[in-house]
Symmetry: C2
Subunit: 369 residues, 2 copies
């Protein structure tokens, strides 16, 4: 089978700025090409745009702006999980032989229409994602006797780590008491428990093994892929204290990569809300059920950036269509030892976990150098 | 290489009804499963939704409604060319080994936001597609000395053929004079020269060779794929009297299938406006430059349904995200000799041509039984 490598990336700062979606896509793509002037744009066979933005035909628009005439050009949407869906699509284009090199560009504005779950009638008036996250928090806390303070530490850790990420939306640190005292939004979640929508863009370039080795001395290989959709409406969740789609996607990705969770040196997990991080760590097999917050405490106290080194969604901000790509870029930087103050020692195998809407769908990627 | 076959399809009538996008997707998918009760829904690895609709997360929603828990689930958008982009994506998932069976469902409401080209500043106030089509018509007529009447025959032929298509939006026939006397919308195009937006949905199921042969005695194989994006803004067109992206996509698809244009027994071409049909026939190599309308005249006079047997976009209606899938279903029915009064004699090799926005991007598929 053809191996697929990631050979280049570009990213913008995550902000609250009002920018056009086309400009955002262009900025991270331009950053990618500026950092890799040896790449021949005409060799790019496919351009995939990952976004929840309502604008149409964005892939041909981006292609024209940067001077690419690809074969394949379209937008991909699956809410927060759009970015990694696009990466899996690009992977399959290359393995199938339909493309040799694929550009993926994800972008979102902070007023993204993907933030409100308008389509799920089972939510009644509770259409903001915080309501599923609150049910998760209540269920998880009750089942495993977890305190608000234990969950608040996720936000403390990720804000601390985001301070070392020059592209992060946040550059402030907080104490557990700051999180607990921040505005109470529901019974179980405060403002600082939440990731924030923002404006940002991230792009990566994938290539077949032969082409990847020509472009760079150290391609980052995609060695594991797992995806699962269990439902769309969150009332179909079989549990509110674990993530079924994440568990299945994680198992599939690790099996394909021929690894187990203990082999993973560094991981980006989808902390849309603080409670999601321990739940994801448990569903991915990094920690036993109910033990995720203990793992997070140990990492925090030892200044170990292994989980969400760039600050996660809580620290970095969450531009929906760009998030999965930005998570992937963080793991690339970790594997190529270019993550400066965020660097995890001796990182050889990394994992990306991206999901949508109450973990009704998840994607897990394993990356290796 | 793994062969990919189309093993099932479902479609709704194309109408002017006001229906929810979720209901539309469900209807054609339900039609597919009703016609093929032997298909096991849990064996479906990917669900791709093709649409320009602004609703999010439609693939997981459709999956939940029909009882599928796929690995891969997302929406794909590339304006009018969304449907065939989705088919190519499904093909690559199967060939790459990431999926064995993929459901594609395309749907659109007649108020689709893909109808107005808001994003192209090069169009000034002329954002409706009729303005690029009018420039095409003026250029094509001038270059090859073609009359309005010659172009009007496309509409006459396709309305006649649509009368034999029970799902078509139109069931009326018209004379050349009717077309010429219909409401003049621009200098060069009348109301009856235009396809009409409508509400409709179409779904197909793709499978690997091994699975396809288990499901049906006669899978329809995808033997050729060609795609090209030349630009997004239509002022980048290198010609207004031929379609560059169509030419390149057609050549690639025929080469992959190891055929030439003369081998094609039946074809669906993208007649968004009457002038597009002769231009596409010429760019695909079915006819010499400037000779497309003569070919159309001969087909019409001999009652030969070879080109756009279901009535094309002009006769069938044009629900953007569903169109490429509906075109493909017509070719499937032709190859399996189930096209009743529309049947082309001895159809063994078929072609689908789908495109977007002034032929700035095109997809061509070759299908064989």
């Amino acid at each position: 089978m053809i191996k697929v490598g990631i050979v280049a990336y570009g990213i913008t700062p995550f902000t609250k700025d009002d920018q056009k979606i086309e400009s955002l896509l262009l900025k991270s793509t331009k950053n990618l090409f500026d950092n890799n002037p040896e790449i021949i744009r005409n060799d790019i066979d496919a351009v995939l745009v990952s976004t929840n933005n309502n604008s149409k035909y964005l892939s041909p628009i981006l292609s024209e702006m940067v001077g690419i005439q690809p074969k394949i050009a379209h937008s991909i949407e699956s809410l927060c999980n759009s970015g990694t869906n696009s990466i899996v699509s690009a992977y399959s284009y290359i393995v199938s032989g339909l493309a040799d090199m694929v550009l993926i560009s994800g972008a979102e504005r902070n007023d993204s229409p993907g933030q409100i779950l308008e389509w799920d009638n089972s939510r009644g008036e509770f259409k903001h994602p915080i309501f599923w996250a609150s049910i998760f928090a209540k269920s998880y806390k009750r089942k495993f006797s977890i305190s608000d303070e234990q969950i608040a530490l996720v936000s403390v850790k990720n804000h601390k780590q985001a301070k070392e990420n020059p592209n992060a939306l946040s550059n402030k640190t907080f104490t557990i008491q700051d999180v607990i005292n921040s505005k109470k939004l529901t019974d179980d979640l405060r403002l600082l428990d939440c990731s924030r929508p923002c404006t940002g863009s991230a792009s990566i370039l994938l290539a077949s093994e032969e082409t990847a080795r020509k472009i760079t001395d150290m391609p980052i290989w995609i060695t594991g892929i797992g995806q699962k959709t269990t439902s769309a409406g969150f009332t179909k969740n079989t549990s509110f204290s674990s993530m079924e789609s994440t568990k299945l996607a994680g198992q599939a990705a690790l099996k394909m990569a021929n690894h187990n969770a203990n082999d993973i040196d560094v991981a980006e997990v989808h902390d849309a809300f603080s409670v999601c991080e321990p739940m994801a760590l448990e569903s991915l097999g990094f920690s036993k059920p109910g033990n995720g917050t203990n793992m997070i405490k140990e990492l925090y106290e030892t200044n170990n950036f292994k989980i969400n080194p760039r600050g996660g969604l809580i620290g970095s901000g969450h531009p929906l269509g760009a998030t999965g790509i930005a998570q992937t870029i963080e793991i690339i930087q970790q594997l190529e030892s270019s993550a400066t103050n965020r660097q995890v020692d001796n990182a050889k195998i990394g994992l990306v976990h991206n999901m949508s809407a109450a973990a009704t769908s998840s994607t897990v990627l394993v990356l290796e150098k």
